[in-house]
Symmetry: D2
Subunit: 158 residues, 4 copies
């Protein structure tokens, strides 16, 4: 019998479009794999596009994936989400995704993604951008490895 708590899973928020290009999907899948290989989990919006690709990459590497859905139907989750939280909050759940990660990687995406990056910055978290919005304070990453390396520093130090 185990009578001591496990360490909670540190989660990295990954944000991006619910629809994405094949190139963005490949980036997201690589990010998911790299994050999982570091023993970290993924938290995302739980839907398609970048969210599905990052979860797929993480699951393939044995990682944990958490999806905070905007709607109230768990079936909206992509099939690589292991912990499905149907929030029913609509876009207000973007704030939960930004809050739940110790750091954030943005891949592509549009205005919803920007709102998540803005909140992560507001809360003092490291944010890396892979072909996504460029803002003061956001690290422009060239590769998945570069993005993960940048945000890992924050996970370790914070």
């Amino acid at each position: 019998m185990i009578d001591q708590p496990r360490e909670p899973s540190a989660l990295i928020a990954v944000v991006g479009g619910a629809q994405c290009s094949p190139a963005e999907a490949a980036l997201a899948e690589a990010v998911g794999r790299l994050v999982a290989e570091q023993g970290l989990g993924i938290v995302c919006g739980g839907r398609g596009g970048v969210m599905a690709a990052v979860c797929r990459g993480a699951v393939q590497a044995g990682g944990l994936t958490v999806g905070l859905l905007p709607g109230d139907d768990p079936a909206e989750a992509n099939p690589w989400v292991q912990v499905v939280i149907p929030t029913g909050l609509g876009e207000a759940r973007n704030a939960l995704v930004a809050r739940a990660g110790v750091a954030m990687i943005a891949i592509g995406g549009s205005h919803g993604t920007l709102s998540e990056m803005a909140l992560a910055l507001k809360w003092g978290k490291r944010v890396a951008s892979l072909r996504s919005w460029e803002l003061p304070g956001v690290y422009k990453a060239e590769t998945p490895e570069d993005a993960v390396s940048y945000i890992l520093d924050s996970s370790v130090n914070s």
Copy 2:
């Protein structure tokens, strides 16, 4: 006895920092007055800085002011908020401010303001920026009159 509904108040979302410079406060107060003179109400985050100044301007011109507070204590509202909604949702209430306005004017501000502008754009609303973030799709206004004139078009047409 009145037995017919009144027209609901169309609300303009005004966003910006909870602390602001005197110049930003003057802009916000002018925006509040101009919006009220058009018969429109203000919805904002209900706190200080830009939010207090815009409410003050609106009340002085006989307008309606609604404040969606992040916390759960109505006493956090600035004294020019007439309808106080203490959401208790933290920053997730930013989504409600963006949603409640038919259009948005941003004045100064930082990352919280950016998150609100991003959501308003996502939902297809007109957004004017007065010394605030400049983004594709956001109208860079030179004066309060310019900002109000721009977003009024959207209120009328939408």
Copy 3:
């Protein structure tokens, strides 16, 4: 020019079913009128049934009505809501209704209404029940006058 803040509108939360019987609608309309005659506003979920009837009664008596909608479409509001806040939060907006009132009157309703009464009790607010749930700490009112009289004490004292 007015250079002093107005007193914010104290709001009474009125909760009940989105569909209701004619008897419940009559009770709700009377509650709305009585609350308005005391110079207080109504906050509710903004939809039909009890919510529409209480807003109708309040508007007829010159009162203010605020509707916190579960969805994101302002057009879902009943026509007697003057300040429409489309939260997009689904049932999580029940917590906002309970929070926004200084006290609560429940009329009929089912489990959604019960969730709102429970939160108002949790936050130490007076709750009157008119043909609604009976719980420890809830005042069982016989008439609209009785319900409003009970919760007015709390508005004055709190």
Copy 4:
């Protein structure tokens, strides 16, 4: 390499007081263990009392535990929560707990617990009560085994 999705974890919502008696804690711990032995996860509010006890029981039996915190500080979670989601939504997060479970077990608790039971009933989920609120539609369980047996039927059938 695994190239197929895992089945998402079905979660049982367990609700109750943030402070509880030793007897309630023993019930909660037994519930956590029994749920985990069925291969199901726990979702709860992530704090102390019943929430800590149910997570402890689940972790000891190898189960998954998810905590949806009211605040925004992950450190508020009890040490047996493995997936920490700091929602920052205050009591509005109660709706998320009720939504995230396929069924609910309530143990002791007060008005916050009642609000969660009401929402679960509203959404048609099975709710078992162990020394908690008794409502129409809620199953009054005598033992942890009884409670888990009742709600398992719903997990299987829904």
